[in-house]
Structure formats: C-alpha cells, structure tokens
Homo-oligomer: 224 residues x 2
DNA sequence: ATCGAAACTGACCGATTGGTCAAGTATCGA
DNA sequence: TCGATACTTGACCAATCGGTCAGTTTCGAT
C-alpha cells in the first residue's frame, strides 16, 4: 500500500480495497456458518449468499468457486490453530504447559465455534481436503509433544501414559463444547454457555487431566 | 408388526418378509454410511442407492422419503444407545460403574462408527431432528446419573466434581475415536484401530477418569 | 468531464436433487 | 391355473445445484 493509498483509505472508509475487504469478511463469516452446519456437500452457495445478504453472482465474483471458498475457510481455521501451537521444551513445567494447552484450546473453540464445527465436519467426511495436513504438519506436531511428555514421564514428573492418547483426550474434551454445543445446551437447559461456565469447565478439565496423569499442580494453584 | 406379518415371516424364512428384510438392511447400512459422511443435506438418495446396489426408485419404495429414512436411522442409533443405559444406584461401586460406562460407550463407538458419526453430524447441524430427545429422555438420564455421582461425592467415594462435565468428558473422549477416526488414523499413521488399540485406549481413559476424580480403583485391578 | 478498472447482477446453462408414476415381473396361497 | 400382493424399475417432473457471461453501475485518478 502506498502512502497515498493509506491517505485515501483514511479519508473515506470505503476506499480502494475496503469494499472487497468488507464483503469478503461478510462472505467468509456466512460461509463458515453454513459449511459448519451442513458440511461441504450439504452447503449451498444460495444459502451462503442469502446469509451474507449478497447475490450469488457477487459471491462467486469474490470467491471464484465453492471449492475455493471452502479451502480458504479451512486454511483460515488451520492458521488460527497454528497460532496457538507454541513451542515447548522438556524443561518447562508440565502443569503449566498442560493447563495452557487446555485453556488455549478451550478458548479457540469458544472464539470460533463455527470454525471448529467446520473442521469437525471435514474430519467426519473423512478429511478429503485435510489428509496432507493431518499426515504432515499435525502429525509432526503431535509427535514432538509426545516426545516431551515421555521425557517428563521418565523424570517422574507425570505418569507414563501414552502421550498421543492424552493429546486426543484433551482435544476431544475441549472441542466437544463447540462441536456438540446443541447437545450441551439441550441437556443443561441453557441458551448459551457463559464466560463463567467456560472458565468452570476449563478448571474442571485441567484438574482432571493433571490429577489423572499424576502431574503436580502449579505452585500458585492452592489446594482447596 | 401386524399379526399377518408375523405369520408370514414364521411360515417361510425366505418367504414374504424376507426380501423386504434383506433389502431394508442393505439400504439402512448404505444410508448410514452416506449420511455419516455428508450429513442430512449433503447426502443424496442417488449415492445411497448406488452404495446399496439398488435403483433409486426401489429405495424410495421401501423407505418412502429421504426424511423418513434419516429419522429411521436416528431412531435405530438411539435404540442402540438406550440399550446400554443400564440403571445404577448409589449403592454401586463408583469404579465399577465408571469403568463399565467408559467401556460400553467405547464399544458402541467401535461397533457402530457410522451410526456414531451420523449422530455427530446431526448434532453439528444443530440437532434439528433430536431436539426433543436431548431436552427430554437424555436430559433426564444425565440428571439421574448426576444425582448419584453427587451422592458418591458426599460419601467421599469421589471428588466433588461437576457430574455433568464429567459425563461430557467421558462422552467426548470415547466418541472421538469414531467421529474423528480420520484424524486419529492420519496422525498415528494407521490403517485402522486394532482391538488391542481400543483396549489400550479404554484402559487409559478409565485410569485417567478414575484417578482424575479421585475414585479408588476396583479391588481386582492390581497396582503395577 | 472522462476514462479504466473494480464492483455488481440478472439471465441463463447443463447437471443433479428428491420424488412420482405407470408398467411391469415375481411369488404366493388357493 | 389364477388372482392378489409384493417387488422392481425406467421415464419423467419441478426445483435446486454450482457456475458462466454479458452488460451495467460505481468510483477514484487524471
């Protein structure tokens, strides 16, 4: 962006790229909802366009094709995911790492429930678009963490549980509140989960996991 | 079943009702696969008919409509689910009950992965067909169990964790291996989960849950 | 004022959707 | 052998699908 362009977009909020940016944001949000509810095949461009308040032709003008739109949404969700995959080392405190892991995963589900459900629908369908990611980057990430968990176990900092099953346990438990939201709300007779609910669940899951695999709680987490 | 139907199926085992039975079984199996992969909207009768090896017209002859077929599959899955919702009382041993709970849920996901994914897709879509079930029978069942868990906690048999979150934890962790099978297999580089894998995961989850909420293991579960 | 590019959209396309229907064939008890 | 019932299926339907395209409007830079 040149300095003049910046000046232009400051001058008027519908400057050069602003229209495109706004419409794309609207389309992506609408598409995420529809794809999350009905999966790739079950989603229709007409439904997405209606949600976005745009003609179908306009939607295709920006996104090119249904497949392109879907892939773009998946990539955005994977980027959010990768953003919280911080590095850890065997020197870190297991309790701190596990709690941060659970908490950040829980917040991702909380902040992007539609994206989480979109991902879930993709996996349910057999991950036709994400095969390479699962067998590549994500597998590497899991194996790296697993190696560190094993070192912790050797040092007696936690029980010698299978690290991969442990990671799956944390993933499933946290993702549940986004993917199965309809079930959670129906059974607990709620309209929505409050921030307090989410915090309570986070604390519950953290305690279950830490105690379950024999990790001593953090120092500042007093017994009660 | 009417009296005439019973008489007919008793008379000859490949008699009148046998053709219907065989075709319906084939159709239901095919439909479960397709609905599980693509959800209600994403599934097409043509795809189901192709999987079942029947013309689409024949499929509709037996099932009446797409909606009717889908509802029938959901009801079949709920029946399987209800079949393992045995009654428990506060006098039972918490460790035994929790282990049986985890084990039977794990086996349900193992034996009927497509049914499990079908259910998951229905919930992902906002449970349009299962709202009443979730807010009725299933809620009652959860609340009944929760009451017993609380009694156990009062008697010091387990930590005073929120029973509902605990039930959701067990549901999500067990269901994960059916619903996210593609992810599990991709990350662990497997073609399928073996019986030994499932047993290992079951033992892992049982130990995590029992230890996590402070339940003493069963007497015959020796320490090692 | 004018020009080029970006944005926009209704009309339209062939393919697929769930579903109907009439015209069969198969199988059975009588 | 015969009528009834269950079963089978290709042809067909209106509606919807993802996508194309030509034509128009909008808008900033000159």
């Amino acid at each position: 962006m040149t300095q003049r362009d910046v000046a232009a977009s400051v001058r008027t909020d519908n400057g050069n790229g602003a229209t495109r940016e706004r419409n794309e944001r609207e389309i992506l949000a609408a598409a995420e909802r529809v794809f999350a509810n009905h999966g790739y095949r079950g989603a229709s461009l007409a439904a997405i366009a209606a949600q976005a308040g745009l003609p179908k032709s306009n939607l295709l003008y920006y996104m090119g094709s249904k497949r392109g739109l879907y892939v773009r949404l998946l990539e955005r969700m994977m980027a959010r995911w990768n953003a919280l995959l911080d590095d850890i080392s065997a020197e870190d405190d297991p309790a701190e790492v596990l709690e941060a892991f659970i908490r950040s995963k829980m917040q991702l589900s909380r902040r992007h429930p539609e994206g989480s459900r979109l991902f879930a629908a993709e996996i349910l369908a057999g991950a036709p678009f994400l095969q390479d990611y699962l067998r590549g980057d994500l597998r590497d990430w899991v194996q790296a963490r697993a190696a560190i968990f094993r070192q912790w176990a050797e040092r007696g900092l936690m029980d010698p549980v299978d690290p991969v099953w442990l990671i799956f346990l944390i993933w499933s438990a946290t993702q549940h509140y986004a993917d199965f939201e309809a079930q959670v709300l129906g059974i607990t007779d709620r309209d929505a989960l409050s921030d307090a609910d989410v915090e309570e669940i986070t604390v519950f899951l953290t305690r279950m996991v830490l105690k379950g695999c024999g990790v001593a709680p953090r120092a500042d987490e007093s017994e009660r």
